[in-house]
Symmetry: C2
């Protein structure tokens, strides 16, 4: 096995991605992006770092590639944008090998691209001491529709909804860590499989985000770092507080995992009282899971409570030096 030079690595990655390549086919210095409709372009960048966002003893390189794309797409979902394409920068350890780590990661990403309908338009490959996958996603909000939804538009009186229960990913990670290397363990195998799947192969709520935007969402954020922390961020940006009366906990998860686990990629949606019912009807008509009620937005930014108690800013933040 000989090390794989950059040009050859790119050639093999092209074949892994196959028909999911866009116009310029990773051949040129830059990709020419075709917007399917005219509108506002929305863009986001996100890195997945080995040992920080993914443990390669518990998830496969393909899972890492899947998660890198879905995590970036979740940011588009939180704006209510429809995905147009992705650019991928892959940094892989410079070791003797046949490039299998890079190719396995890209194969997982290709699956996520198929699942989400988001083409991979271009990329870059570098050597590094650990796996780092950085994905930029481009999306569009069509002209004539309600604009992209920020974190900062929630108004006192708005209802707070979430597109699904939280904590499944954190529960899956806990189960993976407690399992013997041979896997298994007694009990509710289906539940374990569901939680592990939620951790390894999360799904961005793209249809939900677009529909919420069309139905009058005033603010949105995706639950990437923990429901509690992300609620605080939405409230910070909007200059409001909140009173929560429920926390939807995923099957198999604890309430701490629901509040602080992160990587659920459910969307928190603020929406006016009168629009909330129409939004829920819209979800039902589209065959999407009914949004769950979290509570209500209040005027006082200092008031952020669950069951009458202040909600701690729990969640997962990188410490950078």
């Amino acid at each position: 096995m000989t090390p794989l030079a950059e040009d050859e690595a790119l050639q093999r990655i092209r074949s892994v991605l196959g028909s999911r390549i866009g116009v310029s086919g990773l051949e040129d210095d830059a990709a020419v992006v075709s917007l399917p409709v005219s509108g506002s372009v929305v863009a986001s960048i996100d890195s997945l770092v080995e040992g920080v966002h993914v443990d390669l003893s518990l998830s496969s390189p393909g899972d890492a590639g899947w998660k890198a794309l879905m995590g970036a797409l979740s940011d588009l979902a939180a704006m209510g944008a429809e995905p147009v394409g992705a650019l991928v920068a892959l940094c892989v350890p410079e070791v003797e090998g046949d490039g299998s780590l890079a190719l396995a990661a890209m194969a997982g990403m290709a699956e996520a691209a198929g699942e989400s309908g988001c083409a991979v338009l271009g990329g870059d490959v570098s050597a590094s001491s650990e796996l780092v996958i950085t994905v930029t996603v481009l999306g569009v909000v069509p002209t004539g529709e309600p604009p992209p939804v920020s974190r900062g538009g929630a108004r006192p009186g708005d209802v707070l909804l979430v597109t699904g229960p939280c904590g499944a990913s954190a529960a899956g990670l806990r189960m993976l860590r407690s399992m013997a290397p041979t896997g298994g363990g007694a009990g509710a195998a289906d539940q374990v499989a569901a939680n592990v799947g939620a951790h390894r192969r999360p799904v961005a709520r793209l249809a939900e985000g677009t529909l919420a935007r069309r139905h009058g969402a005033t603010a949105m954020i995706d639950v990437s770092d923990g429901l509690a922390l992300d609620l605080h961020r939405l409230a910070d940006a909007s200059g409001v507080g909140f009173v929560l009366d429920a926390v939807p906990v995923a099957a198999g998860a604890t309430i701490d995992e629901a509040l602080g686990g992160g990587e659920d990629y459910e969307l928190v949606v603020a929406v006016g009282d009168s629009a909330a019912e129409r939004l829920c009807d819209g979800f039902a008509a589209a065959g999407l899971r009914a949004p769950l009620r979290l509570g209500r937005v209040v005027d006082d930014p200092a008031r952020r409570v669950l069951d009458g108690e202040p909600l701690p800013r729990t969640g997962w933040q990188h410490v950078v030096g």
Copy 2:
């Protein structure tokens, strides 16, 4: 000094970038990108990895930030696109500290953003074991103008030009490596400073790329990995060969550094015989340095020669495993 949490790091980065922030101000999950004119969107992604693309004992973190943006912008230049904005994913070592590495890198990037007129629209900060700066740049080619220029359009008979002499960056790196830690050394101090500057603070040829596109360039590539390798890549994509009659070597550099050094970010331009003169007149009218003649494109893809000898595929490729 306490470690800096992600939200606080982003807050400080916002203040470093100051007025160079776009519409969404790094506040939201994704940036809303305003195109200054309607046209084709062009996008590219590029990573700069500590120890691979930059040696932090020879360049500052600010140099790394500058180079990360300019390297990505060079890919837009090679398509003839005008920059619209950049997204930055910063991965920085998780050590005790006040975030100074991250902030210094972003300060250098802010200088490059000012120099190139490219706003930073959004970003992401992660922990990692080494500095990795990944930049996505978005550009536009206005409707009604000649389209983006690929690598693959060179035709037999085209003239091959380059926007400047090559090897200055590699020469600067050689000089940095041979200097005592206190710096200095006898002799041509101005030359050393120029070469070191070319290595630490390269400049993307954005005006040159746009002008070459408007004046009929059939193919372009930027010299990122070495003039010889990048010429071969252009010829591969175009299915042609080339006969070179000159290699413009930068002052202070060797011909090996010009052919194989890389990071010059000059543009190689293929253009039809009749258009070449108008292109050079256009550069002169715009006050840009006159393009230098490399040679000519030929029909036979197997014929790629300099002074009658086959041109080796020298240059710099990452080896990935």
